[in-house]
């Protein structure tokens, strides 16, 4: 699928306008009823930087799919609704998808929103496909809730084992944000590292609205860990690391995909050196499609995307939806929540242009974990954990 996609990109770039206007496939696609893809994302509010880039990634994929003839000859139409990462607005968006747009499935992200939408998706028998949240609880939210994004148990377990076995660190301070993103992941890290034989010398939470972390960091410093694992969000992670360095803590820091952010490097400068982050999607050196995508993004947006791995998943979701609809089209089945789930489980293995092979394992998905570290102010590959 990866090489097929590269061919498709050349085709599109070679004759995009002609193909769109004259190709019988594309012309036919435009005359048929569109397939609508609903996506609930934070377009405003504190998470809008990520949410808008996620939406842009999905929109780019929709354009590529439409340029290549749509899905089963039908054009694709994207409906993006704002959630502000707020559960209530997430519910409102879902009700609109179901009640007004009549969609049998929708894409969503942010753990609190995914959880709030789950009872409605289960009740209304609509496929809820998570493509950005990583709370382990998502796997248990019900029959109609599936994830295409690996949950925290994938990267955190592998990271904790890597720190103990490969880096040889025996003592860790775990600092985490006191919300559903931080708590579950911090517990996973603690349990995995302890089971491997390591010792957690500090296990400290901070408030999601906190801007001052001195008390927590002084306790962590007194525990004298060999390494620090920080599980926060994009906004607070640079602040915590900056205050660590101000307090003389020179330990190497590990984090997860939220810290894989070019803005963090700008904010921290030399303080970011040595930082290890996880990425759940292949980088430019692992998948040639990613380099092309990144160049295209820079050309269209004039900058790099916020949270590139997440954007790769958002892009790929359109291709995953395409595979589901084409499967049902071949079987002449209508697209309903049930039939789409049946297709998801029947296809099981997807080759996606940006994130590569994806195997749906029930309500979970397993993927390789790519570790990156900061060297001389840039993220460079460190290891791939399978």
């Amino acid at each position: 699928m990866t090489s097929h996609f590269a061919l498709h990109r050349r085709h599109v770039l070679g004759g995009a306008a002609a193909a769109a206007l004259t190709s019988p496939l594309a012309a036919g696609a435009q005359s048929k009823e569109p397939i609508k893809i609903g996506s609930a994302l934070p377009l405003t509010g504190s998470q809008a930087g990520y949410g808008n880039d996620f939406a842009t990634g999905t929109r780019m994929a929709v354009k590529d799919v439409n340029d290549a003839g749509g899905i089963a000859g039908r054009p694709v139409e994207l409906v993006v609704l704002d959630t502000q990462a707020d559960p209530q607005l997430g519910i409102n968006a879902l009700n609109r998808f179901i009640g007004v747009e009549k969609l049998p499935m929708f894409l969503t992200a942010w753990s609190a929103v995914v959880k709030a939408q789950a009872p409605i998706a289960n009740r209304e028998k609509v496929l809820e496909l998570n493509c950005g949240a990583n709370s382990p609880e998502i796997a248990t939210l019900g029959d109609y809730v599936y994830t295409a994004f690996p949950l925290a148990e994938v990267d955190i377990v592998k990271l904790a084992n890597y720190v103990f076995t490969t880096l040889g660190k025996k003592t860790v301070a775990v600092l985490y944000i006191n919300n559903d993103t931080g708590i579950d992941a911090a517990k996973l890290y603690r349990d995995t590292f302890t089971a491997a034989g390591g010792k957690i010398v500090a296990f400290e939470a901070y408030d999601p609205k906190a801007t001052e972390f001195t008390g927590m960091l002084l306790k962590a410093r007194a525990a004298n860990p060999e390494i620090v694992h920080l599980h926060g969000l994009t906004a607070d992670t640079p602040q915590v690391i900056a205050q660590m360095r101000q307090l003389g803590m020179t330990q190497r820091v590990t984090s997860y995909s939220a810290a894989y952010n070019p803005k963090l490097l700008e904010q921290l400068g030399p303080a970011a050196e040595g930082l290890i982050v996880t990425s759940l999607a292949p980088g430019v050196n692992d998948n040639p499609n990613v380099a092309g995508f990144l160049e295209r993004w820079k050309k269209e947006q004039g900058r790099v995307p916020n949270g590139l791995p997440y954007v790769q998943y958002e892009y790929d979701m359109v291709f995953l939806v395409k595979a589901l609809y084409e499967y049902l089209d071949k079987k002449s089945q209508p697209a309903t929540g049930e039939s789409l789930i049946a297709a998801l489980l029947a296809i099981k293995e997807f080759d996606l242009p940006m994130t590569g092979k994806m195997i749906i394992d029930g309500h979970r998905v397993n993927k390789p974990v790519y570790l990156l570290t900061v060297q001389k102010g840039v993220f460079v590959p460190l290891a791939t954990l399978t």
Binding site: T44, D86, Q88, N92, A116, N178, D180
Partner: protein
């Protein structure tokens, strides 16, 4: 249709919240910002009972949610109002933030991830219309109960207490018990709204009851007309329906995101500029 029904149910829930907050702050003159925490107490009590004691009927759970909110409000007002009315503002804020921290750090409440798996209670195609009928009836009942309270002799006493507490006390009336009673009635209604919310949406999280929710309910009351029986109804409808209507403008998402915030803010400012006492407010009472 389901979309409109859900929106109508949400509006009805916020009508209860707005109307009951209006009783406390608009008619009673009690400075509090913690109305969402009583909404939360009702929602969490009902939600936890429905999950852990499934044999209890939904109506009983909602009533117990109301009772818990009333008890909490009496305890808060009884202690905070002894010093000075203004202390209620600080105490209520502290109570709201403290209780939310407690909810976030307890395992049985679901912590910051929220409480899910609340049973649906009513199943099938009739679920939406049934909830709409129940919530709508509750909202209408709340508005008219409050209207009856404030239009009667007790209402005139409330107004007298709010406007001239010293004179009111000098006449031998007990301002303290009246304040506690008003606070308890208002907070009990908010607790009931929380119970219905928990059953309908089947998920609650502490972030939904933060200070931002206080600002939303306060804006509904001020925009609609503080101290008017139907002002919060208008405020709730406008503040919940306008943002949804804006999403139907079919603007590109890149334009929609900033435009939505600007349109909404401008509309609120225009309303408050043209009608400073609120849309249904009495101009004579405008500050």
């Amino acid at each position: 249709m389901d979309y409109l029904i859900t929106l109508a149910i949400l509006i009805a829930i916020y009508v209860i919240l707005g109307a009951s907050y209006n009783l406390v702050i608009g008619y009673g003159g009690l400075s509090t910002v913690a109305h969402p925490i009583f909404f939360a107490i009702g929602a969490y009590t009902t939600g936890l009972l429905s999950v852990n004691v499934p044999e209890l009927p939904a109506v009983v759970n909602v009533l117990l949610g109301m009772v818990t909110a009333v008890v909490a409000s009496v305890l808060l007002a009884g202690s905070a109002l002894r010093v000075s009315g203004d202390y209620l503002l600080i105490a209520s804020l502290g109570f709201q933030l403290g209780l939310l921290q407690l909810i976030k750090n307890l395992d049985f409440t679901g912590g910051p991830g929220g409480l899910s798996a609340i049973p649906s209670t009513i199943l099938g195609a009739a679920r939406g219309p049934a909830f709409l009928a129940i919530t709508g009836a509750a909202a209408v009942a709340c508005v008219f109960i409050i209207r009856a309270i404030v239009n009667g002799p007790y209402g005139r006493a409330i107004s007298a207490m709010r406007d001239e507490e010293l004179a009111f006390t000098a006449l031998g009336r007990n301002a303290m018990s009246m304040k506690i009673a008003i606070f308890a009635i208002g907070c009990g209604m908010a607790g009931g709204a929380g119970g219905i919310y928990a059953y309908y949406f089947q998920y609650i999280s502490p972030d939904q009851f933060e200070v931002l929710a206080s600002a939303t309910i306060l804006t509904m009351v001020v925009l609609g007309g503080m101290g008017t029986p139907f002002g919060p109804v208008v405020g709730a409808i406008l503040l919940l329906a306008i943002p949804q209507a804006i999403t139907f403008l079919q603007l590109p998402p890149a334009i929609m995101a900033p435009t939505q915030g600007i349109i909404f803010t401008v509309l609120v400012l225009v309303f408050l500029y043209l009608r400073p006492a609120g849309i249904l407010g009495n101009k004579a009472r405008a500050i």
